[in-house]
């Protein structure tokens, strides 16, 4: 019984779930990059987004977690898939671009190392008494500090909407 409880504690602890979802996120992110069929990439990306959502939940940001699913998984990726289906995209033809690929890999690794060393330098401990409830979030978002930005965003979205329609419309 005690052993079972121990196991449960481990499996249900935040950290354990975090590593599980981290692994999933990294694996599916690699899937995005490595699969040659764009539809498969898209589905891998959806898995990444869902894992990230879970991680947001574990990091104490439930609202962002749900938003991640609604916006990224539920809206943006559906749009991607929709376009993929609409354009009936075939898999990429293999082609030699080795120099570029090698340079990219090298630089990417270097970049990861750089950012990694910067970030893991000073350890920041999670703050106590951190209120990330939806109410607190809303109060902050609609405070004078952000409310104008928020309103400006609506104009941005309107502009994007009109722009998207204009760009995608067939020439008359």
């Amino acid at each position: 019984m005690a052993a079972l409880e121990q196991l449960l504690r481990l499996v249900l602890s935040e950290a354990f779930l975090f590593y599980v979802f981290s692994g999933l996120a990294v694996a599916s992110a690699l899937g995005v990059v490595l699969q040659s069929n764009p539809v498969h990439s898209a589905f891998s990306l959806i898995v990444t987004f869902c894992s990230l959502s879970a991680i947001y939940g574990l990091l104490g940001a439930p609202f962002i977690a749900v938003l991640q699913i609604i916006v990224y998984a539920g809206a943006i990726m559906v749009l991607f898939l929709f376009v993929l289906m609409l354009l009936n995209v075939k898999r990429e033809a293999p082609r030699a671009g080795r120099a570029l690929a090698a340079a990219a890999l090298l630089l990417g690794l270097l970049f990861a190392v750089q950012v990694g060393t910067t970030l893991s330098g000073p350890g920041l401990t999670p703050a106590a008494g951190y209120d990330a409830s939806t109410q607190a979030f809303a109060r902050q978002l609609f405070s004078p500090r952000f409310v104008y930005v928020f309103e400006a965003t609506s104009i941005l979205i309107l502009a994007a909407l009109v722009g998207a329609v204009v760009v995608a419309k067939k020439e008359p």
Partner: protein, 345 residues
């Protein structure tokens, strides 16, 4: 047994019970739908298997179980498999955060039980999020089979779900503003007392209720919005190529989604487990009873609609969604916001 373990087991138990109940309800619904439709059309419907045909779902299940699994040769195998799984998973996840009644004590023990698997702070949003994931099963199913009927059905269906998701989400907003919370139990609590406190009453969110019900019907592909399955044009839409148990899973997901909608309608607009008449007894099993009655009523309405209304044409469907429902929902949001902000409704 430590409290932590006890809690874990309790949740596990709840999951098992609710899953089983839903599966039972699903098979019952398939029968109920066929029989009720038959009655509406002056037929009898399936009445041969067992008394009143009560064993018909089991017979159907056995049949589907033993049918041959078919997969188109050029299909994308993993996606073809994933689609029904995603569908069922999303359906069950959505219903996991819905409460079915007030907390009650198990007789003879000190254990208090909430008839709900998880009571999230962002419950309603979570449901909305999961519902939006449901589109993927349609997209996957439509794309993976490599068949033009599937693909077109999938495109149509995903466009439809997309469009009606907007009005669906916006119809939540008024309710959320009135309750001041995303938590469904809070929303139910805000409708306590007389039945005119229910959100469906004209003084509260009647408009949102109507918009919600219509959009939800479209979201779960019920008549009159079942055009992905328009036989004359698209055979059976995105699940044309499915057979056997995968087909059964798809059907199951559809019915579970319908039940989710009915349960949510009850919770958000029909007062949840509140009887609506304050002199009636409340709490515990009574609440469960009221809740079940309302939910069954909503389910009945769905079947009724199917027996009554003809199917929309695709352009009508899109026009209705974008030009009627979304403006109405937006109007409702604006109106409610004004009332809440200015008049402290």
């Amino acid at each position: 047994m430590t409290p932590a373990l006890q809690e874990f087991l309790l949740i596990l138990l709840k999951v098992v019970i609710i899953t089983q109940l839903l599966l039972g309800l699903f098979s019952f619904m398939t029968l109920a739908e066929r029989r009720l439709l038959a009655f509406m059309q002056f037929r009898l419907g399936p009445n041969r298997t067992g008394p009143f045909g009560i064993l018909q779902p089991i017979a159907d299940g056995i049949k589907l179980f033993f049918k041959e699994e078919l997969m188109p040769a050029s299909a994308s195998a993993w996606a073809f498999f994933a689609a029904p799984i995603v569908a069922v998973t999303a359906a069950f996840m959505a219903i996991a955060t819905v409460p079915y009644g007030p907390p009650f004590r198990i007789p003879g023990t000190s254990i208090s039980v909430t008839p709900q698997i998880a009571d999230l702070d962002v419950g309603l949003l979570f449901i909305f999020a999961i519902t939006s994931l449901g589109v993927y099963s349609v997209v996957l199913a439509g794309w993976s089979a490599n068949s033009k009927f599937s693909l077109l059905g999938g495109l149509r269906s995903s466009a439809q779900m997309f469009s009606y998701e907007l009005s669906l989400g916006m119809s939540f907003v008024g309710v959320i503003m009135l309750a001041g919370s995303f938590r469904i139990s809070d929303i139910v609590a805000s409708q306590a007392g007389w039945f005119w406190n229910w959100n469906i009453s004209p003084s509260k969110q009647l408009l949102a209720g109507v918009v919600y019900f219509i959009s939800a019907a479209a979201e779960v592909n019920r008549t009159p919005f079942d055009l992905p399955e328009g036989e004359t044009e698209l055979v059976a839409g995105y699940h044309t190529e499915y057979s056997s148990m995968k087909f059964a899973l798809m059907q199951m997901a559809e019915y579970i989604n319908m039940i989710t909608v009915a349960v949510l309608t009850t919770n958000l607009f029909l007062g949840g487990w509140n009887p609506g008449l304050p002199f009636l007894p409340v709490g515990g099993l009574w609440g469960l009873g009221y809740f079940a009655a309302k939910t069954f009523f909503v389910l009945f309405v769905f079947i009724w609609m199917r027996g009554t209304l003809p199917r929309f044409r695709y352009d009508q469907l899109m026009n209705f969604g974008w030009k009627v429902l979304i403006p109405l929902a937006a109007l409702n949001v604006l109106g409610t916001a004004t009332l809440v902000a200015v008049f402290k409704w």
